[in-house]
């Protein structure tokens, strides 16, 4: 019996194992089924003189069992050897020095567990132990055991849903010390699985096509980094027999399912990036806004920012929203029946208390300093959230730019990767470090870990383990008059409002 036939039941089990009806339904809608990917060509890049034993043959057989056509490409071959492939898979048996970034520019998706090659591809920075590392059981015996436990850092991406990831630990590899790689992705990367409670040690991470890589460049195609090494594909967890009936155990032994979901995500066609067209965006938002109820919470008659609040409310009403203005001291019951709510930066974080945290209404916060109360980020001020340009609260100078890091997100308004003038002049811009379950659209200049614009999908795991009751977003509009925003800044504002209300799905 061929290896492929042998592995077929494993694949079928991995693909069909139910984890939750809701997740499965979403996964089906989000990623194409394997049947739709059958026949795709995969260039499998491995070492010309790879050490044995290794699991390359097993992986190739697995890919074939999934219906893919696999061509072996040695690490010494030119990148043209992968031309025409739908996916480039890079094994850790390939010599990263031979690879030398030859696939970095290719628009073909890349799925790699060659940790040492991460910097060549721009997936991580270049510093070993800091930006990436390979933990092997001889030198790192205890830590290699800790890598047997991965954490579902992201549970709402299409990949995570397809794999059935939950915000909990799971078994990455079978219970024996093994060599495992991790990376610290750049600003446009999404951490799917992390190790040791550190999002900087990503076991699985992705870049959407166009997202900002660790080297500041745009990902030419989808990219996936995975925690495997030469000879442990066969140890990717799976469960069979009576234990497979236990949903808890199915959620524990999901290494192989995660591998397959990562492949599927990499092979899937990325969504077309939005086109930058502020007028069209405005029109689209207006079409959706008509008749929708929006609660705008502000400090009524605030001394600073009152003008901005009026301008924002006027803009929203102009779009067709039925805007209800509430003072910061009114009870959160004001949110009942609303389709969307915005908390103005004129509100006092202290006075607002913990209101609106639980409301099942999409919420946009314009005040970054409320990141902790709203669970948008952790509770360490200046570490988990902060601001640029505030004289007494920041070492960072005032700024007018944000860096777009995920142009594929609808919240990016179709703006290209890189710096975008958000306001006409430099001022205060807030930032926070959201959890990996957030979609980060923009960071502050020179601060790739300080997210200025981001959103949490409903059900996402926010800071402190809080589960988003509805969409949540941060837009750092700190008291400047609305009119101070650039055209691009206003487009970002509209795009975030449109996303928060679910407009991209209509």
């Amino acid at each position: 019996m061929s290896l492929a036939r042998r592995l077929m039941p494993l694949c079928v089990v991995a693909l069909l194992t139910p984890y939750s009806a809701a997740h499965a339904a979403h996964a089906r809608s989000a990623l194409p089924p394997w049947s739709a990917l059958a026949g795709r060509r995969v260039a499998f890049v491995s070492g010309a003189d790879a050490a044995v034993p290794n699991d390359d043959a097993l992986v190739r057989a697995h890919l074939r069992a999934l219906g893919l056509r696999v061509d072996r490409v040695t690490d010494a071959a030119p990148s043209s050897a992968a031309a025409g492939a739908s996916l480039i898979v890079i094994s850790s048996t390939a010599d990263s020095n031979r690879l030398g970034g030859k696939y970095a520019h290719m628009a073909v998706p890349v799925f790699t567990w060659n940790t040492a090659d991460y910097p060549n591809l721009g997936l991580t920075g270049p510093r070993l132990h800091h930006d990436f590392d390979v933990m092997e059981p001889i030198q790192h015996f205890a830590e290699s055991f800790s890598m047997l436990y991965g954490y579902g850092a992201n549970t709402t991406s299409a990949l995570s849903r397809a794999a059935g990831l939950k915000p909990q630990l799971f078994g990455t590899l079978y219970l024996e010390p093994a060599t495992v790689g991790w990376g610290r992705p750049g600003p446009g990367g999404r951490v799917i699985v992390d190790f040791n409670g550190s999002v900087g040690k990503a076991g699985v991470f992705t870049y959407e096509r166009g997202a900002m890589l660790a080297n500041g460049r745009s990902a030419p195609g989808r990219r996936v980094g995975f925690y495997l090494s030469d000879a442990n594909f066969h140890l990717l967890t799976a469960v069979h027999g009576p234990a497979a009936r236990d949903p808890q155990l199915r959620d524990w032994y999901l290494g192989l399912r995660l591998f397959d979901a990562s492949l599927r995500w990499a092979l899937a066609t990325p969504p077309a990036p939005p086109r930058y067209d502020p007028a069209a965006l405005d029109a689209r938002l207006a079409a959706i806004a008509r008749g929708r109820k929006l609660l705008f919470v502000e400090r009524i008659d605030a001394s600073e920012g009152r003008e901005a609040d009026r301008q924002i409310v006027a803009h929203l009403r102009g779009l067709g929203f039925d805007v209800v203005v509430a003072d910061q001291m009114e009870p959160e019951s004001r949110a009942a029946g609303m389709d969307l709510m915005i908390i103005s930066s004129t509100c006092s974080k202290y006075k607002l208390a913990n209101k609106y945290v639980d409301v099942k209404v999409p919420l946009i916060a314009l005040e970054g300093l409320m990141s902790d109360t709203l669970h948008l980020a952790g509770r360490k001020r200046f570490v988990d959230y902060g601001e640029h340009g505030e004289e007494k609260e920041s070492e960072d100078p005032p700024t007018r730019y944000v860096d777009i890091v995920d142009p594929a997100s609808p919240m990016a308004a179709g703006l290209a990767i890189g710096p975008v003038a958000f306001t006409r002049g430099p001022g205060v811009l807030k930032w926070a470090r959201p959890t990996p379950d957030a979609i980060v659209v923009a960071t502050l200049p020179g601060s790739p870990t300080q997210a200025a614009i981001f959103g949490y999908p409903a059900g996402a795991t926010m800071a402190d383990g809080f589960v988003a009751p509805a969409r949540r977003a941060l837009l750092p509009l700190d008291n400047p008059t609305y009119r101070d925003m650039t055209v691009e800044g206003k487009a970002l504002f509209d795009a975030v409002v449109l996303w928060a209300i679910g407009g991209e799905r209509r």
Binding site: R6, L10, V13, Y174, H234, G241, A243, Y253
Partner: protein, 351 residues
């Protein structure tokens, strides 16, 4: 200038040399087959062996051969009694208290109930199918009878001889083993799988795919380590974690239909904690030796004939193995008694 290495350097070198020696010694020790043949006893031409069990008190060993069950003295390996049974013995099982044994009579569609003190036929339980293997589970008080040809498993109440439940399993059934806490495992050769049966309900609880070798036939179960060793007819031994049904290791192994036996000897003088033995029809005895629950090494021994049923005598730390002719026309066979290489020679050892 003093060119002599310092005391510290010399000490480090000495320790390093000692470590290297220890590693080399462990490797050599690990690679060696844990037992040697210490005695061989012919079993005549009355048929191929079908079942071998050691009495719980360690006094006697029972062998089913042809239409006979023969009792051997466990120390001298000489026959002490025998009894004719109304069918060809396919397998034997013995009660935990040593009072009874059961013989699957393949061509008689029956299970013979034997009294052992003295050896006599007590009862005959008729079946609709041809029994091929037996398994006595002391925890359920049941005798599980496999009928490979009929793809059936029957659970007998040993107190009454009545069938409690039956189960149909798809495929070519091979060896079965039980873990003593609700799980019975049946190798299914043509499905490359091991079916897991819940002994509390006698229902199929799930299936372990065997993905790294073809034709699983022999099973050896370590119920403490929760490891199921699966020998394949294509060669190779898959090691499955029975908690997860996950094959985490596949070791080389000889081809051929195999019968397995796990022997755990945590305090044994044999230098090993546990071994999964597989005797193959091709005349090999393979031993997968447990170094740790995740580390195993294997070794092999060439047999004079095809390997048959096995049993382990825990008191004397000896493995009994019945061999059979690989030539169908010549039913000669022998009983091999294997012991630790380091143990004192047994009287009458044949080289």
């Amino acid at each position: 200038m003093n060119e002599q290495p310092s005391v510290v350097v010399r000490s480090i070198r000495a320790v390093r040399a000692l470590l290297l020696l220890l590693i080399a010694a462990e490797a050599a020790h690990a690679a060696a087959f844990p037992l040697i043949v210490r005695q061989e006893t012919p079993i005549g031409r009355s048929g191929n062996p079908g079942g071998l069990v050691v009495a719980p008190d360690g006094g006697l060993v029972y062998l089913g051969v042809g239409r006979t069950v023969v009792a051997y003295d466990a120390t001298s390996a000489t026959p002490t009694a025998s009894i004719a049974v109304p069918g060809t013995v396919a397998d034997l099982a013995i009660a935990a208290d040593g009072s009874r044994a059961y013989a699957a009579l393949g061509d008689a569609n029956a299970v013979a109930v034997l009294g052992l003190k003295p050896l006599r036929l007590l009862d005959l339980w008729r079946m609709r199918t041809k029994p091929s293997a037996l398994l006595l589970d002391p925890t359920t008080g049941s005798l599980y009878v496999e009928s490979a040809a009929a793809h059936r498993l029957a659970e007998f109440d040993v107190a009454t001889g009545r069938v409690r439940a039956r189960l149909r399993l798809e495929g070519r059934l091979a060896q079965m083993v039980a873990n003593g806490y609700g799980g019975l495992f049946v190798a299914v050769a043509d499905r490359d799988a091991v079916d897991v049966v819940d002994t509390r309900t006698l229902r199929l609880a799930g299936t372990y795919p065997v993905q790294t070798c073809d034709g699983p036939s022999g099973l050896a179960l370590d119920p403490v380590g929760r490891r199921l060793f699966v020998a394949c007819t294509s060669g190779g031994v898959a090691v499955i974690d029975t908690d997860a049904g996950f094959t985490f290791e596949t070791l080389p192994g000889p081809p051929g239909a195999a019968r397995g036996l796990f022997v755990r000897s945590p305090t044994g003088a044999d230098g090993w904690k546990g071994v999964a033995f597989f005797a193959t029809s091709q005349g090999t005895l393979d031993a997968v030796r447990m170094m740790a629950f995740i580390r195993y090494v294997d070794g092999g021994l060439k047999l004079p004939r095809g390997g048959g049923p096995m049993a382990f005598d825990p008191q004397r730390h000896r493995l009994w193995l019945a061999t059979q002719s690989t030539n169908g026309g010549d039913a000669t066979g022998s009983l091999l008694i294997l012991g630790a290489a380091s143990a004192a020679p047994v009287s009458g050892v044949r080289p």
